[in-house]
Symmetry: C2
Subunit: 291 residues, 2 copies
Amino acid sequence: VPKKSAQEILAASPASDWRGLDPENTLLMELASGPVLIELAPRFAPAHVANIRALARGGYWNGLAVVRVQDNFVTQWGDPDGDDAAKARPLPAGAAPKLPAEFSVPIDRIGKTAGFTKLPDVDGWAPRTGFAEGFPVAADPQTGQAWLTHCYGMVGAGRGDAVDSSNGAELYVVIGQAPRGLDLNITVVGRVLKGMELLSALPRGAAAMGFYDKPEQRTAIQRVRLLAELPPAERPALQVLKTESATWAQLLDARRYRGGWFVHSPGHIEVCSATVPTRPTPGMTTQPPPR
Amino acid sequence: VPKKSAQEILAASPASDWRGLDPENTLLMELASGPVLIELAPRFAPAHVANIRALARGGYWNGLAVVRVQDNFVTQWGDPDGDDAAKARPLPAGAAPKLPAEFSVPIDRIGKTAGFTKLPDVDGWAPRTGFAEGFPVAADPQTGQAWLTHCYGMVGAGRGDAVDSSNGAELYVVIGQAPRGLDLNITVVGRVLKGMELLSALPRGAAAMGFYDKPEQRTAIQRVRLLAELPPAERPALQVLKTESATWAQLLDARRYRGGWFVHSPGHIEVCSATVPTRPTPGMTTQPPPR
């Protein structure tokens, strides 16, 4: 019996398997090349998300830039003068300069209320993996901790050597093979929902760690706002598939057991194998994001 | 005791842990943005590698193009008119139009002669993983087969629905999370040794599967030659770390057990976690590749 394809599964998905965006948990980053939408994860990084909201509301990133693109690793943005106290852009009112590490949370925080769905597939990096509220998650019952995993498209808060040196002003997104070795070492704050290709296809930086060696190579950030700052009619009308839905379970199964072109099925996936789908909100005239 | 860093391990590596390039097994693809070097894997795909040699010697790819870039998946190049029998570029003499599938090889082919080094780390996709002759490899003792894995930078031969429909003229490289679900479904022919960022940072295509919808979006391929076709003095002087070396084992261990900035060590890696290093051949004046 031929398996249903991902397209067929999505086409048959009930409306109740989708959810809208929380305007308080979604960032709109505008580049000359287009809009990037980022969903924040307050359940996993409450202090960082609160700070990111304050930074966005204060217009902190407007006019700043993508400063680093390291191939098969991360694209990073923030203040090009951030390391120079004399030239660094001041943080807006209400934004803290440093925050406690939020590398993991108590495992009961991803329980029934977050709709954690466990993958049966073995993972070498963590005793348990799965999805919660649209995000890839790992957990360790022995330590009692759960954390967001560094899959493609996940966004984290850069830090220095001190674990409490991040504040969410310097953000990075994973653009290559999931660097799961970063898990539990840095605070992950969310996921790119849309516009990922605008961050992954940027020229790689020639300096150490992929930083650009010439300022003109940087990509300018026109503006970053919380969706809550936009008039409701101007907010991108996007839905995210619920990861506790039957549709998501079917999509994962369609990847474990392939049909059509495939002659071999792996019978396996990993938490970073599949990206949680989004779609334009049905029946809504999607506004072109403000430019 | 602080662990040695990757840089320190590489700096201390003996010359005998490195090898040069086999001119019969290395492709030089010239783009306007720079050179791309691809190492072929005749032990895993002998018929495809032989065909690729014939295609290169016949100048097949000269003036063709990158036709597809699908985000978090693959960059693909070949004949933009390949599907149009009237306009398709003819294959050069000695190149077969289709080849038997080379999805795997008998496991004894990666034995002592290929220097297979097994990873102790668990992998969900295959019972056994490791490295052989610089390539990431998986194997299944039950089926008696071994195969190259679809890690970042690995190059494969596109095929249609028939398993014997590939000929090596249409090639792709992995530019995102390792699509291990492709393993055992398509012939993998080699790995990008240098210039990966010239293929991974290209604009993504807007048509289905990342194909470009406008011809002018394609990246032109100036020329593809086998290194054996170049005068010895013009061949890029590059070395590859031997994956059966102590240095490679130490590098993998440095990724399992992190020091410095890291506060948590995963105690784990996977076959696609680490890229086998290359370096300019010591003492050689590296020629700028011909442009």
